[in-house]
């Protein structure tokens, strides 16, 4: 899209002109606003990371420490609550707040881990396919379509069943089920980039393939891949809750939010905090990460830069 459309907007009829003037101010305001959403999301993301890294200092108790005599005490804002366990205790008397704090580690590990696995496999395959074309491209494209046609949840379930439900395996299963998303984007972008002048020029200058890939293609893939990656982190966190629902998520006694959510779901009628508080944590985390991803997407979108 050339600068022509802006001038056209300026030069067209009154209606469009007035709109243009109004929207210039609007653009400025909305950019700040859009920024706001992204900033909000980014803050939450940052908070998540802080919680994960500094868990031992933020948490008030050992998340594994049980105290059966004090099980199921409610949070402070309810009757019977106690500041000792300000968010209450779970079915084994473990402090809920501490478990939620440590849970950030688990969720982040799973989200980022799954994305790393999927991203690594996906980007490599997509890039190679897009760059070299030919039969390699055909095979990769075929695989992508095949895997996308396979119902994700069944694949993840089966993998976890076959491999066993440990945290590493869950990351692996989620990652392996998800590489097509990265591959697809990488492939399409690589193909586009390959036709670009600077790549053609580089090749004409005799740069080695490796160099072209690493210095010209890869850096330009970062933007779209990063956008996808953020969204997929949130999706992986949510997917772990699905697996937990089926009993195939992170195993007790590890304080995973998905596990807590799932184990507490029978008690939403009375001991609702068991499930709801981790649920809020998951919600905020996913929301924050999604907003960050949205903001990144808008940030990188070439069309939006004009306006």
């Amino acid at each position: 899209m050339a600068p022509a459309d802006i001038t056209m907007t300026d030069k067209t009829a009154n209606l469009a002109d007035a709109r243009a003037r109004r929207s210039k101010l609007g653009i400025w305001m909305s950019r700040a606003w859009r920024f706001r959403m992204g900033v909000f999301g980014g803050l939450i993301f940052a908070l998540l990371v802080v919680m994960a890294v500094f868990a031992p200092w933020i948490a008030t108790h050992d998340p594994f420490e049980q105290d059966i005599l004090f099980r199921l005490t409610p949070p402070v804002f309810l009757a019977g609550g106690d500041w000792e366990h300000w968010l209450g205790t779970d079915q084994l008397g473990r402090d809920l707040f501490s478990r939620i704090v440590y849970g950030a580690r688990i969720s982040l590990a799973i989200g980022v881990g799954a994305v790393l696995v999927a991203g690594l496999i996906g980007v490599v395959m997509g890039l190679l396919a897009g760059f070299f074309g030919g039969w390699l491209d055909a095979i990769v494209d075929f695989s992508i379509n095949a895997m996308l046609a396979f119902p994700f949840i069944l694949l993840a379930m089966t993998l976890v069943i076959v491999l066993g439900a440990s945290m590493e395996n869950i990351i692996l299963a989620l990652g392996i089920s998800n590489w097509p998303i990265f591959a697809r984007v990488a492939r399409v972008e690589t193909k586009k980039l390959r036709e670009q002048e600077f790549v053609v020029a580089a090749q004409a200058l005799g740069y080695s393939t490796v160099r072209v890939i690493f210095r010209h293609i890869l850096p330009n893939l970062t933007a779209p891949i990063l956008v996808i990656a953020t969204v997929e982190i949130a999706r992986s966190i949510i997917r772990e809750t699905f697996l937990s629902f089926l009993g195939l998520g992170v195993q007790p006694p590890t304080p995973s939010w998905g596990l807590m959510l799932s184990e507490g779901r029978d008690y939403i009628l009375t001991i609702w905090w068991l499930s709801t508080l981790p649920g809020v944590a998951i919600f905020l985390a996913a929301l924050g990460i999604n907003l960050t991803g949205d903001a990144l997407r808008d940030f990188f979108d070439p069309r939006l830069k004009r306006r």
Partner: protein
């Protein structure tokens, strides 16, 4: 083509059903709606081992003998009396006034057909065959008398016949295998009306039932509600009168809801930890009996039972419930004594503890195990949990393949056979693939007890067996389970020790 037609019909039917708007009103007093956990796969009792069939079967069919829900004793039902003229022959007299819902009479031939035609026949591939393979043949003496010939003397024959639901042989002859899977024909208090797969089973009163005043309630609908939270919600919304299998921590939600109450049903299912004492799966510290004793001492079973199993739950000292035949009355047990546990560990050469695997596959989150794990951590034993909750079949496979390293947590329902044989043989017989103890003497004792029909002799044998298991700590018996059911306060019904609520005897209080 038929499939396509069926599908179109189903779609049309579904559309029709949806066109009828009606929020289900509060259950009227002439009907009872029950919420089951798992769906039915078939309507024939001998083509499934699933528990939900057991729980429904007494409504539609009559078994030879019926269990008293409180004591567990077997009472005459279809069979009025029985005897053991020879060790391998059981003779039964049956009632002459039982009529199937089809109008056909229930005779000794019906029993013979049920056993030989629907269970023993290799062509039908009945999954219930293992429970009945001790039967060689059934001999019809006359309309009201028959004899069961067994291969070997089999003392627990009656226990098994508790789940022999008599089928209508004339009706079965008129229909093919597939039809029988989808339609139920019995002689019980309720007639089968229809089965909407995955959704519900509808039953209605049998007006000609031979027992006086049974059933008291006209209509029964069994709905399938797999999710526990939903089951409870259905109860509180009034669309269900009885909800199966609730969780301990859901019980507080009954407070403040005077229309509903909890029914506790203690059952003979026991939970225990099995140790890989013979190191079948891997080298393990638990091959040393001192270590096993230490573990038993390190866990405060009483506290766990009180707080985490709940009302009605009970601690077991024996490798079976107090209701099993052959249970030792004054069995010893290992007190909660973490100091002693540490001592024993040090003696055995593990002053700093060790790491070990614990395998579990309970159908819901297992709080007792988690608490126990924490207690073991306090004496230095770090436990790695392998949970097969999402994949219970894999657990069984691993157990049989000898791959359960360290400690395996199982619970055993003994398939409703209230006899020590049902729980000890699968785990301690040398030929069983579940054997992680490897004790020949024990295995011999069990063999002898299995084929004797002398109750005193058997009790003595089982007492010996339990002593061995206690000394060697092959198992750490943990607790007996209790089932929690939610029900409307006006529904009068009993829960059975055999995990089967007596639906057919239920009545509305007003």
């Amino acid at each position: 083509m038929k499939q396509l037609r069926n599908k179109l019909a189903a779609l049309a039917a579904g559309g029709l059903a949806l066109a009828m708007t009606a929020v289900p009103a509060l259950a009227a007093k002439d009907s009872m709606t029950i919420a089951f956990v798992d769906k039915f796969h078939t309507m024939e009792p001998y083509q499934t081992s699933a528990r939900q069939m057991l729980q429904m079967a007494y409504m539609i069919w009559d078994p030879l003998v019926l269990r008293d829900p409180d004591t567990g004793e077997l009472q005459p039902h279809v069979a009025t009396s029985w005897s053991n003229p020879e060790p391998t022959i059981w003779e039964f007299d049956i009632r002459d006034d039982i009529v199937f819902h089809s109008g056909n009479k229930l005779t000794a031939e019906s029993v013979r057909y049920t056993i030989e035609g629907r269970i023993l026949d290799p062509d039908v591939n009945s999954p219930r065959l293992p429970n009945f393979k001790w039967i060689k043949s059934v001999e019809v003496v006359d309309d009201d008398t028959f004899r069961i010939h067994t291969h070997e003397p089999y003392p627990i024959a009656l226990q098994v016949l508790n789940t022999l639901y008599v089928m209508d042989e004339k009706w079965a002859a008129e229909h093919d295998f597939q039809y029988i899977q989808e339609h139920a024909m019995g002689s019980g208090p309720y007639q089968w009306v229809e089965w909407n797969k995955g959704s519900n089973v509808v039953l209605k009163k049998n007006p000609n039932y031979w027992m006086e005043g049974v059933p008291a309630i006209e209509n029964v609908t069994i709905r399938i509600v797999p999710e526990t939270a939903t089951r409870l919600a259905e109860l509180f919304a009034g669309s269900v009168d009885f909800a199966m299998n609730l969780q301990l921590d859901q019980l507080p939600s009954f407070e403040g809801r005077p229309n509903y109450e909890v029914l506790e049903g203690r059952i003979i299912r026991v939970d225990f930890w099995q140790f890989d004492s013979r190191e079948r799966a891997s080298e393990s510290p638990v091959s040393d009996v001192r270590v096993r004793k230490a573990i038993a001492h390190a866990i405060n079973k009483e506290l766990i039972v009180e707080r985490l199993v709940g009302r009605g739950g009970y601690r077991v000292n024996t490798p079976m419930s107090p209701y099993h035949f052959g249970v030792k009355e004054d069995a010893g047990w290992y007190e909660y004594d973490p100091e002693k546990a540490k001592q024993l560990l040090a003696e055995a050469g593990y002053p700093d503890g060790f790491e070990i695997d614990l395998w579990q596959y309970s159908d819901h989150q297992n709080l007792p195990n988690q608490a126990a794990m924490q207690m073991l951590a306090k004496v230095g034993i770090k436990v790695n949990l392998n949970d097969y909750r999402g994949n219970t079949q894999q657990m069984g496979k691993l157990r049989r393949a000898g791959q359960v390293t360290g400690i395996g947590n199982f619970n055993w329902g003994s398939y409703n056979i209230f006899d020590a044989d049902a729980i000890l043989v699968p785990f301690f017989d040398m030929e069983s693939s579940n054997n992680y103890a490897g004790n020949e003497e024990l295995s011999d004792i069990l063999e002898k007890a299995r084929f004797s029909v002398d109750p005193e002799f058997r009790m003595a044998q089982y007492a010996k067996a339990q002593d061995i298991i206690y000394e060697e700590v092959y198992w750490m018996p943990f607790f007996g389970l209790v089932r929690f059911y939610g029900k409307s306060v006006d529904l009068d019904i009993k829960a059975g020790l055999d995990e089967v609520p007596r639906f057919q005897f239920a009545k509305w209080k007003n």
